[in-house]
Subunit: 331 residues, 2 copies
């Protein structure tokens, strides 16, 4: 990023008017580790939220599934379906394994070729970061920026193998799990906890010879989801088939997402869940900020280094040592 | 506790010479929530440890099992076995459900009647506390006091249903799980994680008609433990039968505990594990101290109360709010 950054005012007005270059630069500020960039990013987000708070018109959708299930093709098909209907769509990702140099989800420029050329769509690869917490936090902040820029449908792609899904679940309104055609005994590397989070399960690649296998998977997952405990939203998960490649069933998936939104609005779950998520992220931010401040404190590091050997050798109580270290920090 | 407490010096000398009244009073200081009591308790422990650090001659043994397995009877039988051989034994407990008013493990005066009359044994009920963390911490500090008073075999009783066992595991050298006679399909309400922690599994009540069932349980658990991943100690768990009520097999259990100690000494695991546990408790104490200082800070509470509604309503970013709260704390 160049030295001469636009002012916060320019960022705010630019993002509001849908300037994609300024939006991209603001996200780069969010992703930067430089304290001055971070401070500016916070200023921009604060200004944007003060003018138009968290919108109930926006819809944040987690899209996950095992590698090979066709997530990119699906997201492109769903994205085009929406942009064709005049909706602006942002596609973000949470992938802690990504880095700028390595190819990662959404990082590959050749993917989502059609969607990425649309002015109605904004695609951003996963931020890189040492920890899932850091990556997830940046994605969560980026959601606020893209929504302020008018992209009110936000798709969050994850890799479908673990913790990233929990992070995505903590910042989205609806959770969509993609599955492969096939018999029930194959859980497709998807952990039970991820299946439990899903509001909508879509068996993708239901085309050609695979239609029958897709129907089998559909029946299997319908039975399986009936056995799950009721979700806090009260919504009973729905299982569908589709073929992103053949562009079949995508409309039904979208209509089901809208059904979910309507039910969640009517029951009050939608707002309550947004509120709960905001509270969760506040706690997360407090905890990680507190940890950083403590363990990066010079006095804490020095005192800990001086006392730890005595504690480990049993010459000093861990509690007495902790008290001394804390006293240095809180002095 | 009376106003006129003995001096730290009197406590230290008294505990060293095995004065049970002063030992009991020192434990009461450890368990007290009053800051002056806490400070005095820390002084006493610091003085005791400075004079004789964490002893490799002491042996800390976790004893757990489902309710009804006969833990008290077993501990009494093992305790008497040891006191008869001239060993001094302390019996402590971790039971977060206990309180002074309710009967709790080791709280019932009619239990362990024979052991409790021995001058060689020191029995102390579980400390009470709002959280498992608090209860466990007090027990961990009490271990240091009873060892300084010469009780070098310390038995830690837990209730056998969950988190207390993890706490006990984090402060003991060897983990003993008591089981009931019976076929293999009954996991006796014992979670797999607890079975995995066990170094020695003893099927108790192996007497009368139950000898055959006890042998069955023994075979079952031998097979089950073979399937577990290797333990960090390198020790292969042993499965035994005993009858605490008939005083049968108790000597074999004790000999097996000594086998474990010898193997753990020889491999270096014993010392390494004590060191790891001290490090764990240092981290625990730092974390809980940091949390307390933060969330009890008046400025933190006020700022959080002022900003939280805006965060929950989506008018303010959780990250910006967290930054403001942290700034008040770290000012």
């Amino acid at each position: 990023m160049r030295q001469n950054l636009p002012t916060v005012e320019v960022f705010v007005q630019g993002i509001r008017s849908g300037d994609r270059v300024l939006l991209g630069k603001a996200i780069t500020l969010v992703e930067s580790t430089r304290p001055d960039h971070q401070a500016m990013a916070q200023d921009i987000i604060a200004r944007l939220l003060a003018e138009s708070p968290d919108s109930v018109n926006s819809l944040r959708i987690a899209v996950t599934g095992a590698p090979g299930v066709g997530k990119s093709t699906f997201i492109e098909a769903l994205g085009i379906h929406l942009t064709n209907r005049g909706k602006r769509v942002a596609v973000l990702a949470i992938d802690p394994t990504s880095s700028i140099s390595k190819g990662s989800i959404l990082g590959d420029k050749t993917r989502m070729e059609r969607l990425s050329t649309s002015e109605m769509a904004f695609i951003r690869p996963s931020p890189s970061g040492a920890s899932l917490g850091g990556v997830a936090r940046k994605t969560r902040e980026t959601i606020l920026l893209v929504e302020a820029a008018g992209y009110e449908t936000v798709l969050i792609e994850t890799v479908g193998v673990g913790q990233s899904e929990i992070a995505a679940h903590s910042m989205t309104d609806v959770f969509l799990l993609l599955l492969l055609p096939g018999a029930g005994d194959e859980l497709q590397g998807i952990k039970r906890g991820i299946v439990e989070m899903a509001d909508i399960l879509a068996v993708n690649k239901a085309d050609g010879d695979r239609v029958h296998l897709a129907d089998q998977a559909c029946s299997y997952y319908r039975n399986a989801t009936h056995l799950l405990p009721q979700k806090p939203s009260g919504w009973a998960p729905r299982v569908l088939t589709c073929s992103a490649e053949q562009n079949q069933g995508i409309e039904t998936v979208w209509d089901t997402i809208l059904d979910f939104k309507q039910a969640a609005d009517a029951s009050g779950f939608f707002k309550a869940n947004r509120k709960k998520q905001a509270g969760y992220w506040l706690q997360e931010a407090l905890q990680s900020g507190l940890q950083n401040a403590f363990f990066n404190h010079k006095g804490v590091q020095d005192t800990l280094a001086a006392l730890e050997p005595d504690v480990l050798a049993g010459r000093m109580s861990p509690f007495a040592a902790a008290e001394q270290v804390l006293a240095v920090f809180l002095k």
